[in-house]
């Protein structure tokens, strides 16, 4: 028996605990517990009424058993009974049992609530506190329903004891977190704010937590808290350490309260009132100054408490991001901590600097610490600290130091902990792409990544390198040469085989002139890896082989032999077998021209958000990661930050992933194999269907037409003045469509009855339609590709004319294609200053078009944002002084010229009206864009 100290515990309980501790085995323990449970059960069920003390003791034993990890399925009722005891200790144990063990047994909750109600009404502060603690601990919805309206009254009542106020404040905070809808706002809120002035620092501490929580929900209602919080903080930071008596902790004045006040202030922007603002700045300066003073104690508690306040102050400084001197001072302070002997401080300094790196005022200052951070990466013994160093390097990276940082990360990767390798790989891949000045460096870096940490290189990473190589002519030859060399290694990672296979399949011809990398050498090299690879990689290699047949006729027979071998043609894997069969057949029957068309070089990929970045975001969670793309508030020029848009799509419907995905059929372009120009008589013009046209103004994909027979779906991509539209014709019937044809005309030419089979030229817009298979089987879908070029700005959209025979009847359908001027937008990011300068430059009356119109849809700002972005312009935050307004900018690309465009949309939610203003350098463009966009809201 240990010497149990105070409060004269329950002897029976102590004996029981001793017994448990003396058990030699788990079995013995369980036996002892079962014996005790049986004993308690019999006591609870027994005829003899138990007195309060016994009940308390048994309930406490049950609680102990539960805390050992055993299930308890009785005793709840006895615990609830204890609540109505007027002995404090019995009540206390009853409440403890409930707060530890209660689940939402509704019958019980009603009884518990009854006990709580009585105690709250008792006017006995100790009982009231117990009841409030229980509500705060359980925090269930039923409790919120019962008490959420009563607690505010207890909190602000003049005669409530301080300790009860403290409990009430935090109890209310818990309820507001769990069931915010049940906590009524009202007259009490104003009085709660004034608790910041309370004499009792314990009350202020508890109230500050509550106010912070409430202010997050409705900042406007608690605005007055700002000045009170600043005043309070100011008094604390300037106080002598003894002033606050017991609230001074190791010579630091009220550290918990200070941290909470600083956190409350983080709910608000910097105060507008100059005096208040300078008072706050003074506080922050004082806190920074104190960090430089010699410590008043050598105890770690002293420095922890002091630095807790300091870090919270730095968070506020970073969040306000408005005082350059403070930011730079904060950065210097953190710089000192980077070399501190306390691991904890080094960790926090690295972490905090990550956010500083995203401020334009302090980005440069953060960069000066690069060597220390790199050193941390190499020497820190704790992986969590090294992880922070990686994060910081990532956050401080820009064009000037990218090569150094990427090199350091790569070399760290060789020895990095397995748990963080994948993340480092993603980061390196992103930085390498983002700051690549020449893409040869980028290609080298990614190949290095695969070499060093191939297993951690996810699909997103190697997909991306291929996208980039395909989109940039200048790097293709180098990429082919480099992968060819890398593949020479006797053992190379499968990911390298994938990249190598893909790139040589596309660009092997660029290095085929050299006899050391002749077509046959390339093929043999790839094929030597074939048997070591998994099915998806083999499938990819087969596609590379068929591409080789097209690129290099001289190896055709060698490859055909390979395809013809039993191991391919009769491969047990159906995907590989199908590819082998189809590729072999294709290579035998198709003419060179057809082969060249089918297997032509991949078209450039539409630029979009790097899927790697999306992956990293997903891994870290939004807001978790200092986002180098967006968070750096525009200091390094705008272009490098404006590259991403569009949701990450990793779908297999993209032509690129199709080729690699084993789940989709081989990419034999069905529409092109049979090159038939169907000879159909000119159909009579019919009504043009424009029903769904306007739905495509702000989006690119969807169903444009549908009737009982046919569904027409669209997918389109645009880049600068070029576009490509995939038109999908779906036969909804079970019967063939015969003599199917589909062609494009401009509306004008349609009126003039001039139709040509494939190619239509209107002066402003070129649309080239590839021909489409004349037969669509029942239930099948065929695809037609339209290539679009915008020559100059235009108004009329082209129309698609479809003809086919269904059951003998000739069907004519004409659909207006959603090719609008705004599709050729490229979003432009700019600062508020640039925006207004350009806005003024476009001040001529004919350059501006304005329209005021009634809202057709509910006025949801997120939807509006999405629409404006879908329209193609960049949304500029913080330009318009009124945050409810939307401001956007973009450039229309046509072959002949580029037209800059600025727009502003002002919603008036009360009147349910909008005002849209557009300014461009061309009146026809302004008018057209205005017509298109105003129709969308």
């Amino acid at each position: 028996m240990p010497a149990v100290s105070k409060g004269d515990g329950m002897r029976g309980l102590a004996v029981f605990i001793s017994d448990i501790r003396n058990c030699k085995s788990k079995e013995a323990e369980i036996k002892r517990i079962n014996k005790e449970l049986a004993n308690i059960r019999s006591k609870f069920k027994g005829d003899k009424a138990l007195d309060g003390y016994s009940k308390k003791k048994y309930v406490c034993k049950l609680l102990f058993i539960f805390l050992l990890g055993h299930d308890i399925d009785f005793g709840h009722m006895e615990a609830v009974n204890l609540l109505s005891s007027n002995k404090y200790t019995e009540k206390q144990i009853g409440y403890l049992f409930i707060s530890v063990l209660v689940n939402s047994n509704s019958d019980l909750i009603r009884l518990i609530n009854n006990g709580i109600k009585n105690d709250l009404a008792s006017r006995n502060p100790t009982f009231m506190n117990l009841a409030l603690h229980c509500i705060a601990n359980v925090g269930s919805r039923e409790m919120a329903e019962a008490f959420a309206s009563q607690i505010p009254n207890i909190l602000v009542a003049g005669d409530t004891m301080d300790s009860v106020k403290q409990s009430a404040a935090l109890c209310l905070l818990r309820l507001n977190r769990m069931s915010p809808d049940l906590v009524p706002m009202g007259e009490w809120t104003a009085r709660v704010v004034h608790l910041l002035n309370d004499q009792h620092l314990g009350v202020v501490t508890a109230a500050t937590s509550l106010i912070t929580n409430l202010a997050q929900k409705s900042p406007d209602d608690f605005k007055t808290a700002v000045s009170l919080a600043v005043a309070r903080l100011s008094r604390i930071v300037t106080s002598a350490s003894i002033d606050l008596q017991d609230y001074t902790y190791y010579f630091v004045a009220a550290p918990w309260l200070s941290v909470k006040l600083l956190r409350l202030l983080q709910c608000y922007p910097p105060p507008e009132d100059a005096a208040l603002r300078s008072r706050l700045t003074e506080c922050l300066e004082t806190i920074l100054n104190k960090a430089q003073e010699p410590p008043k104690s050598k105890k770690v508690q002293h420095s922890n408490a002091k630095n807790a306040i300091l870090f919270e102050a730095i968070s506020l400084i970073i969040l306000h991001d408005s005082e350059p001197t403070l930011l730079v001072r904060a950065c210097n302070q953190l710089g000192q901590f980077l070399q501190h002997r306390e691991t904890n401080l080094r960790y926090l300094a690295l972490e905090s600097m990550c956010t500083l790196a995203s401020s334009e005022f302090s980005h440069e200052a953060v960069k000066t610490h690069i060597d220390t951070v790199i050193n941390a990466l190499k020497t820190e013994r704790d992986v969590s600290v090294r992880q922070r160093a990686v994060d910081l390097l990532y956050a401080m990276c820009d064009r000037s130091n990218a090569k150094q940082i990427v090199a350091e990360m790569l070399s760290y990767l060789e020895t990095a902990d397995y748990s963080i390798r994948e993340e480092i790989v993603l980061k390196v891949a992103i930085l390498a792409e983002k700051y690549a000045v020449d893409y040869t460096w980028y290609v080298d870096t990614i190949l290095n990544l695969i070499r060093i940490a191939g297993d951690y290189v996810s699909e997103e990473v190697w997909y991306r390198v291929i996208q980039i190589v395909i989109n940039r002519d200048e790097v293709q030859g180098y990429a082919a040469k480099t992968v060819f060399e890398a593949l020479q290694a006797p053992a190379c990672h499968e990911n390298l085989v994938k990249v190598g296979g893909y790139i040589l399949g596309e660009f092997g011809n660029l290095i085929a002139g050299d006899s050391r990398s002749s077509p046959l050498v390339q093929f043999n090299l790839l094929h030597s890896k074939f048997h070591l690879c998994s099915v998806p990689t083999r499938a990819l290699l087969l596609s590379a082989y068929i591409k080789f047949i097209n690129l290099f006729p001289e190896v055709k027979t060698t490859i055909q032999d390979v395809l013809r071998s039993d191991s391919q043609l009769r491969n047990a894997d159906v995907e590989l077998q199908q590819r082998a069969v189809e590729y072999l057949r294709l290579s035998c029957i198709a003419s060179t021209d057809i082969l060249a068309t089918v297997l032509e070089e991949m078209p450039p990929f539409p630029e979009r958000e790097s899927s790697i970045l999306a992956k990293l975001k997903k891994k870290k969670g939004p807001g978790h990661l200092p986002d180098i793309d967006d968070a750096r508030r525009n200091v390094n020029g705008s272009t490098e930050h404006s590259e991403n848009a569009e949701a990450p799509k990793t779908g297999s419907n993209h032509p690129f992933t199709d080729l690699m995905s084993v789940n989709s059929p081989p990419p034999v372009a069905n529409s092109l194999l049979v090159d038939v120009f169907s000879d159909i008589s000119t159909p009579a013009p019919v009504d043009v269907c424009e029903e769904n046209f306007s739905r495509f103004v702000c989006k690119n994909n969807g169903v444009i037409f549908e009737n009982q027979l046919l569904q027409i779906g669209l997918k389109s991509e645009y880049r600068q003045n070029l576009g490509r539209m995939y038109v999908f014709f779906g036969n909804k019937t079970s019967t063939q469509f015969l003599s199917f044809s589909s062609s494009v005309a401009s509306q004008d030419s349609l009126k003039a009855h001039i139709l040509s089979a494939t190619c239509v030229l209107s002066p402003q817009l070129n649309v080239h339609a590839k021909t489409v298979d004349p037969i669509i089987e029942g239930g099948a879908q065929v695809q037609q590709i339209l290539n679009i070029e915008c020559v100059s700005d235009f108004t009329d959209a082209p129309v698609l004319t479809i003809q086919f025979r269904y059951g003998g009847a000739l069907q004519n359908i004409t659909v207006k294609l959603p090719v609008m001027l705004n599709k050729f937008f490229q979003p432009t990011e700019m600062t508020s200053q640039d925006f207004f300068q350009r806005w003024k430059q476009l001040g001529a009356p004919q350059q501006e078009v304005q329209k005021i119109f009634k809202a057709k849809h509910p006025m949801d700002s997120e939807v509006t944002k999405a629409k404006i972005l879908g329209f193609g312009v960049a949304l500029l935050d913080g330009v318009d002084p009124n945050p409810a307004n939307f401001v956007g900018a973009g450039v229309i690309h046509t072959k002949s010229t580029q037209v800059g465009c600025l727009l502003r949309l002002e919603p008036n939610t009360q009147a349910e009206m909008y005002r849209l203003t557009l300014r461009t350098s061309r009146d026809s463009v302004s008018q057209r864009l205005c017509d298109l966009l105003s129709d969308q809201f």
Partner: protein, 179 residues
């Protein structure tokens, strides 16, 4: 470089959101991994609690002495410190202040120490209910309620006085054999 889309929407969400500091739970466990106290400030099922406890005890016990007191765990931050044979471990949210949490732990240890008089693990085992009461006086809903050591101990001692008044005759009865 590319057409509009929702990408920008995602990134404009990069604005930092400030959460009120929010402790999710506090665990006390021994060197041997035995849980001595658990306090949950968020509603979780018993199953989840057990899983979290198991994982976390393992993670923390595996760490070496001189390592940093903070670690990222799932989407939370763990702040822990060892006192003799006991580990005190708090889970806080990403934006929360690690150092002040470390001192919350220390203040709680001080309170236990003062109350029991050089507290040891056995005190907490045999008087677990007291450990809970003291914690409730100090932290409520995961927030510091009363940071003054004097005030917390005053509240607990007052309760003990109530207890002693009520208990004394009972203890005698118990001695006689009413166990």
């Amino acid at each position: 470089m590319c057409r509009g889309g929702v990408g920008r929407l995602i990134s404009s969400g990069g604005e930092k959101t400030v959460f009120s500091s929010k402790m999710q739970f506090m665990l006390l466990f021994s060197r041997q991994g035995k849980l001595r106290l658990q306090k949950w400030y968020v509603p979780l099922s018993d199953k989840e609690k057990k899983k979290i406890t198991r994982e976390l005890v393992q993670t923390v016990l595996a760490r070496k002495p001189k390592m940093c007191s903070f670690l990222e765990w799932r989407d939370l931050k763990i702040v822990y410190k060892r006192y003799a044979s006991l580990y005190f471990c708090c889970a806080i949210e990403d934006q929360d202040n690690e150092l002040i949490t470390l001192e919350i732990i220390h203040r709680y240890v001080e309170l236990l120490d003062k109350y029991f008089g050089s507290v040891c693990e056995l005190d907490i085992i045999f008087n677990f209910e007291k450990a809970y009461f003291i914690l409730d006086e100090f932290l409520l809903g995961g927030e510091a309620q009363e940071t003054s050591k004097k005030n917390v101990l005053k509240a607990i001692e007052q309760a003990d006085l109530l207890q002693e008044e009520a208990e004394t005759p009972r203890s005698v009865l118990e001695e006689i054999g009413l166990t």
